[in-house]
Each structure stands twice: as C-alpha cells, then as structure tokens.
C-alpha cells in the first residue's frame, strides 16, 4: 500500500518540478517587462513568485517522500533543488529590500536551472548514489553545497545589479520610474549574500572531506579543495570589502562575479565525477 502511494507521488512530484519552469518563466517575464518600462513589478508576479516557490517545494517534498532519499540524489534533482534554493533566497531578499526591480534575473535563472533539470527528471535519470549506502554527511554536504551555490549565484546577480547601478550613478544616467535598491542597499544585500555563501560553504567543505576523503574521488580532492578554497577566499574578500570598505564596492562586486566563475569551473570538475558515480 505504502509502495503504491509512493509510486503515485513520484509522477506528481516530477510534474510539479516540470510545471514550475513555466511558472518561473512567466514570473520572470512579468518582472523583466516591468523593469523595461521602469514600472514597479506587477502585483500578479509578486504573488505568483512565492506560489511558484511553494509549488516547487511541494514537488521536492513529494519526490523525496516517494524515493525515501534526499531531493538531490540525481544531477537533475540537484539542478531543480538549486533553482528552488535560488528562488527561495530571492523571496527572502525581496521581503527585506527594494530588490524587486531585479527579480526578473533571479526568476529567469531559476527558470533556466529548473528547465535544465527537466530532461533528466522526465526520463528517470538513475541515482548517482543508488548503490551507495545512505550517508548523512554526504546528503548534508550536497544540500549545503547546493544552497551555498544559490547564495553565490544570488551574489553574482546582485553584483551585476550593483555594477549597473554604480555606472549609472557615476555617468549621470538616472532614468525616472522604479529604480530598485540604492548603492547602499545593494551593498547590504551583497554583504548578506557573501556571508551566507561563507556560512553554508564552510560546513559543506568539512562534510565533503568526511564523505569522500577515502572514496573513489579522493584523487580529485586536492583540485576540488583548491577550487572551494578559492571560492571561500573570494567570498570572504567580498564580504570584508562590503562590510568595512563600501568605497571599494566595484572591486567587491567583481569578487562576487569571480566567485560565480570559479563555481562554474568547479561544476565542470564535479559533474563528470558525479556522472561516473565517483562522488
């Protein structure tokens, strides 16, 4: 009986995870159009955004409950979880700042990540760790890594927003209408995003050592450690600049963007390992 319920929950969860792509795309379009017309973000999009995130969460819960595994046991699931983390983080930012004018970028990236997860989810991609025994440190490591990835991506998007706003103020190109956070506001948001990245990445790193220190991926560990170490250094540098030297805002913003680049390179190393079952 329980197995039958679980079997119906898988397609329901997957359907929701596929559907949210359309939701995120619609919300992103609403935000981006409003920004193009220099208008406040539309009410429907501000309501549909949280509803999409809630639907995404429900989809992840259903999938996780059905498979009795974490909602990031495959690459596709991980991408979907990453999209969810990014959108949820954006909701937190929107609730505490005037960042709504930049919501389009967040939702568009969430839609892209969620869309990339669709083929694997629909085709029933095999679990990377299907044969491996369950491991709490590994699950925690992956979950925290994905959430810190979301924080780094959010930092990158905010850094782009900051650099754009900085250039506009510097060059006197201040158009009327809704204009989003001040440079001060961006600085505060970027400080928080950088700190969140550090706070999530540090335990992820430690747990990663525990989970893979003696496994098949041990050979790649020095390289991965160097990448994550570089990421941490960049985030710490950015955080310190945002906190203590706002005058160096553009430099700090570039550090946040570099962190995104390192992250993408890191993903390029991790991804084949995951596919080969090495992680």
């Amino acid at each position: 009986m329980a197995r039958a319920v679980a079997l119906t929950m898988v397609p329901m969860g997957v359907s929701l995870l596929v559907l949210v792509v359309a939701f995120y795309a619609a919300v992103a379009t609403g935000y981006l159009e409003a920004r193009r017309h220099r208008e406040p973000s539309p009410t429907w999009a501000r309501i549909a955004g949280p509803l999409s995130v809630a639907a995404h969460l429900l989809g992840l819960i259903l999938l996780s409950a059905a498979t009795a595994r974490s909602p990031f046991t495959t690459v596709s699931q991980s991408l979907s979880f990453l999209a969810f983390s990014l959108a949820a983080l954006y909701l937190l930012l929107e609730a505490t700042s005037r960042v709504a004018t930049h919501g389009g970028g967040f939702y568009a990236l969430a839609a892209l990540l969620a869309a990339l997860s669709v083929p694997g989810l629909v085709q029933g991609e095999p679990m990377a760790w299907a044969d491996a025994p369950r491991s709490v440190p590994r699950s925690l490591h992956i979950g925290l890594s994905l959430m810190s990835t979301a924080a780094v991506l959010a930092g990158g998007l905010l850094a782009l927003g900051y650099l754009g706003a900085y250039a506009r103020v510097k060059r006197h190109r201040l158009a009327g209408g809704a204009h989003g956070p001040s440079l001060d506001g961006f600085q505060r948001l970027l400080r928080r995003a950088s700190l969140l990245g550090i706070v999530l990445l540090t335990p992820a790193l430690v747990l990663g050592f525990r989970a893979y220190g003696s496994g098949a991926a041990a050979g790649k560990l020095p390289l991965l450690t160097a990448m994550i170490g570089a990421l941490l250094v960049l985030l710490i540098g950015a955080f310190i600049l945002w906190w203590r030297r706002p005058l160096r805002g553009p430099l700090a913003a570039w550090l946040n963007l570099l962190a995104v680049v390192v992250l993408v390179i890191g993903f390029g190393i991790v991804h084949p390992l995951v596919l080969r079952g090495g992680l």
């Binding site: 006197h172 009327g176 956070p181 001040s182 001060d184």
Partner: protein, 427 residues
C-alpha cells in the same frame, strides 16, 4: 452627463501672473467667499480651490447658466478682477468640470507636471468646504474621487517620478546612493538661494550631521535657521578654513560658492582614509569642483548641467506617463458617474419609503388604545423591520439598475410607474 455641476476659474494656461495674483485667495478669504456665495441661495454646493497658479470654483446648482452665475457671484468678491468676458476664465460644466478637477488633483494641469503639492491643496479646499458646510454630497464625492485619483496617479504611474528642480534632482541622486542619511554627514558650502534650495531638499531626506560652511557667518546662520524651521534639523556653522577636511568627513557635499575650484588632487586628499562614497553636488557657476574629479574612486560628481539633464529626463519620463494617468482618471470618473446615477434614484426611493411608512403608521392606529406600552413598542419595531425588509431588495435593485443602466434591472422610473409615486411626495 452630470447635471448641475459647474466649474469656473483661472489658471496658468489662460491667465497671466498678474491676473492670477489678483484672484488668488488665502484660506480664510476662500472660506468667507464660499460661505457668502452659498448663502445667496442659488447654489446648493460651493467649493473654492486657490493655489499660486490657479483659483477655481466648483458649484452645484439647478440653474442652467450656473457657470455665468458662479463667475458673477465670485467676481463680486474680487475687486478689480478682469471682466467675465475677458478670456481669462475657464468655464466647464458636467463631465468636463468633474474631469478637470481630477486632472488638476493628479498634477496633469500643473505648471510642473505631476507635482505633489496640489494634492494637499485640493484636500485643504475640500476640508474647508466641509467645515463651512458649503460642500454637499456631490462635491464631497467628487473631491474624494479626485483625491483618490491623484494618489493612484502618483503611486501607480511614473507621473511624479524623479526630481524636477535642482533641489529635488539632487535629492533623487542622494536616494540612488544612500538608503538613509540619518547617521551621515551633509555639508553645504555657500549660503545663497540655490544652495539653500538644494540643502532643504537633501535635509528633508535626513541628515545626521548638517554643516553649513560659508565665508560670512551671519548668512550661514540665517540658512541654518531657515533649515531648522523647514526641516527641523539643526545645522552647525563654520568658515571655509580647512574645507577639505570638512568635505572628507561628509557623505554629501553641496557646493555653491564662488571660491577657487577644488582640483582633482584636493578631492583625492579629501577621499584619503575614507570608507564610504562621497556625493559632490556642484551648483556653482563657475564650477566649484574640477570636472575630472568625477573619475576619483568613490566620488559621484553632479554639476548644474548634470542636474539639469536629470530634470529634463524626469520631465520626459513624466510626460510618458500621461496616457496611463488619463486612463486611470477615466476609470475614476466612470466610478463617480455610476455613483451619481445611483444617486438619481434617491428621490423616488425616498418617496417609496415615505409611502410605506405612511401606510405603516396608518395601520398602527388599529392597535387597541389600551394596549400596554411594551406591546405597542414591540409592534412598532416589528412593523418597521417588516417594511424595511420588504423594501430592502427592491431598493438595492433599483439603485443598481439606475446606476448601471442595465436594462434587466428596474430603474427609478419603473419604480415611480409601478407604485404611482411622485418625487418628494408621499401619499
């Protein structure tokens, strides 16, 4: 069509400044004029709006030549005003008059498109009319509609976006850089009129430490007093000695003095050991800061030319919002006319209720004279509720039918025909 509503007035589009000055009234005189006009008896409602650019009268009257009557009555209170046929006076009636007030309140008719002061001035005229009891149901509703439309126009469109004076443009730049100035320093160098205007606009955002530096202490103190009165913020006064150190401690520096311009090296010196950016607003002609200083890291330099570009941009952006504002005003006007049509059913409904009440009172006479007071009171209550409940649904349907022009619903005319009612007359 709105019957009985008239508007006459002068504004910057039709009348030169000397005519506008002549007819402009302060609050007290405005109240006296509307009370006197109302007392003449030909108008059931009167309201007067007077600002520096416009003086406008709104009246409700059953007379067909209401605009001429209103203009004549008004001008009797304004000695020396140009004659009614001078071409300086705007006359509107019905929908045109209602729409005009909505346009005025939203700032579409203002000299500075989308300015916000007019909203407060319309509110004051409305309150004055309520206080003098010269505003009745129609003007009350019209002013409420206009105030709501004005608020929506400013919040839902870009009509009031950006700064359209040097001061407000400077304030809009400050808002792009700093969330708040509450714990930050604002320095004003110079104490002339343009510096005062910008300082007032920036101080309104907030200023933790406000410093006025000027060669003449007396003028700086006068500006400090002015700022204290206008914004409630205390300013420290000092001379121009060690100006670079003072700039180094400020977050926003407004410069409007004819002193020797600050070079790039000066600004770099001022920026040493700073942690936060510096906004320099240079209002001087010739400039107070070398243009190249804008390249210094963390320095945002805005001179008069840059501020004027912002003003032009803001005005252009406001103009783009006009179609959206006009659509919004049409919505509000529709809502007002719907209410007005519904109100047209009131005399017939009043007649119906009076008729029902007269029947109820007549039937109450059948109650035995020796009925105990409690019984009498209970029957009174019961019959009143019965009448109200019997007429309640019909009343609601007639109001809806009259206001919506929905042919499926009964109108006031149907009601009159069905019950043989005459307005203002109960049987």
């Amino acid at each position: 069509m709105i019957r009985g509503l008239f508007h006459v007035g002068v504004d910057q589009h039709l009348a030169p400044l000397d005519v506008r000055e002549l007819v402009a009234q302060d609050a007290e005189t405005s109240a006296r004029i509307v009370a006197a006009m109302h007392a003449e008896g030909w108008a059931s409602e009167v309201a007067l709006l007077s600002t520096c650019n416009r003086t406008e009268l709104y009246v409700v009257t059953g007379e067909t030549d209401g605009a001429d009557l209103a203009l004549g009555a008004w001008l009797r209170h304004v000695p020396g005003a140009p004659a009614p046929n001078s071409g300086y006076y705007r006359r509107e009636h019905g929908l045109g008059a209602a729409l005009h007030l909505l346009r005025v309140t939203s700032g579409l008719e203002s000299a500075i498109l989308g300015e916000t002061e007019i909203q407060g001035q319309v509110r004051a005229a409305h309150e004055r009319g309520q206080k003098t009891a010269t505003v009745g149901p129609m003007l009350d509703r019209l002013f409420q509609t206009a105030l709501r439309a004005g608020k929506r126009a400013r919040h839902e469109t870009g009509l009031s976006a950006g700064g359209v004076s040097h001061g407000s443009a400077a304030a809009s730049v400050v808002r792009r850089i700093f969330d708040t100035l509450d714990d930050r320093g604002v320095l004003v160098v110079g104490a002339g009129q343009i510096a005062a205007q910008a300082a007032r606009a920036v101080a309104e955002i907030g200023a933790g430490h406000l410093v006025i530096a000027n060669r003449t202490a007396a003028r700086a103190e006068a500006l400090a007093d002015d700022l204290l009165a206008a914004t409630g913020r205390q300013a420290a006064v000092r001379g121009l000695d060690d100006l670079l150190a003072t700039i180094g401690k400020a977050h926003v520096a407004i410069l409007a003095t004819g002193a020797a311009p600050l070079s790039v090296a000066d600004i770099e010196t001022a920026m040493k050991r700073r942690r936060e950016p510096l906004l320099l607003i240079d209002l001087g002609v010739p400039r107070c800061v070398a243009t190249a200083a804008s390249a210094v890291r963390g320095v945002f330099l805005y001179d008069l030319e840059a501020l004027e570009q912002l003003v032009a941009g803001a005005l252009a952006s406001r103009r783009e919002s006009i179609p959206a504002v006009e659509a919004l005003l049409r919505e509000e006007l529709d809502e007002f006319t719907t209410w007005l049509r519904g109100r047209g059913a009131m005399p017939a409904l009043r007649s119906l209720h009076d008729w029902a009440e007269s029947i109820r009172a007549a039937e109450m006479r059948w109650l035995p004279a020796d009925a105990p007071p409690e019984t009498r009171e209970a029957v009174e209550r019961l019959t009143r509720r019965l009448v109200q409940r019997l007429l309640g649904r019909a009343t609601a349907r007639v109001v809806k039918g009259t206001s919506s022009e929905n042919s499926d619903l009964p109108t006031a005319e149907d009601l009159k025909s069905l019950f043989g009612l005459e307005e203002g007359e109960s049987r």
